[in-house]
Amino acid sequence: MYPANTTYHRAGSVAEAVQLLADNEGAKVLAGGHSLIPAMKLRLAAPQALVDIGHIAALRGISLEGGSLVIGALTNFATIASSELVQANAPVLAEATGVVGDPAVRNRGTIGGNVSHGDPASDPPTALTALGATYNVSGPGGERSIAASDFPTGLLENALQDNEILTGVSVPALAPGSGSAYVKFPHPASRYAVVGVAAIVASQGGSCSSASVVIGGVETTPTRASSVEAALVGSDLGNDALDAAAAAVAGDFTGDPMSDIFASDEYRRAMAAVYLRRALGIAASRAG
């Protein structure tokens, strides 16, 4: 499968990339290409120009700054999943990036490209939304940040303005005493999540003090399970409490449902309750 033809522009810096986007009508940003190239092969995307940011070394790397992990947009999934900093401060992100695709895909796919593309069946956005991450953006008007929960505006649509580039993600470190888990039902061929659940719970004195639960794959954007979170907080995180919390998820699906030949929307919602319960059990066992 050949994509439609296009022109190619390799950027040496973020500022140059922003300028190249402004100078080339119909241009798209290319990072690892593991979302964009498949879309181009299917002609779902046919950008007139590609601005390749994949060689900007400053966009690569992971650091801990003032209690937050800062991960450059070009950092690949393999690097994030195996990072001791990420495993210590945001283990649910290490888990989610460790189950994207397969080893070769994880070597090339980048966190910035992944969240900019915003596939609702992809693992990292679910974990990042649960973690309360923010996305750092550079554009003609300077830099700004967008909350992960405000970033997707619809199926494969996001809050980036014209000629803006996502340069990295900032992830607040999990509080001590928190437990988290990412649990996924992978599509058997594509490895995308039919359902993916990121759950974070904190426990103090035997009682749940906070909870953050996000589900991917069921709706066109990640679903925050507010009813589940409300049922968890104040509970003892025992089996009965987790059963009751997981059952509350039915009321949280209020967006546009996803459905395909492999999994209907009804099946996805049913599986979401199952995988949610598993995620809550693991997260609770790791808390305290």
Partner: protein
Amino acid sequence: MKLKVPVEITINGKSCSGEVEPRQLLVHFIRENAGLTGTKVGCDTSQCGTCTVVLDGSTAKACTVLTVQASGSSVTTIEGFADGANLHPLQEAFWNNHALQCGFCTPGMIIAADAILRNNPSPTREEIRQGLEGNICRCTGYQNIVRAVEQAAETMGGG
């Protein structure tokens, strides 16, 4: 629209240059411009893994990389594994264990297996299976492929 751009990629230690359309996939550059047809095109959707190559030190599916992205990079294909007439220990182990039937997946299997052993010289059977997750054998010859990787780990000093 400028249709072709110059590229230069080091493949198996040899510099290969050419002028290509930006839409050309790396796997086609390897096969058609460099003439190295060991790397196969299978599913063309980054799922089957038979186009796997080593790109700047780590495995990549060459059907999901544009040639222009890889310009300036270094690539190793299956043709870079044997040392003259001496097979690589993984190739030897695949031969000994009948780890190929039609052989179409074999180049990608060997390159993915090499990546497993470089990161982990003594993998468990389960770790081998996880490492080969992105490589599909439509003859379903997985048992012998896993055995071959185990044997190669032993001959390469791990195991």
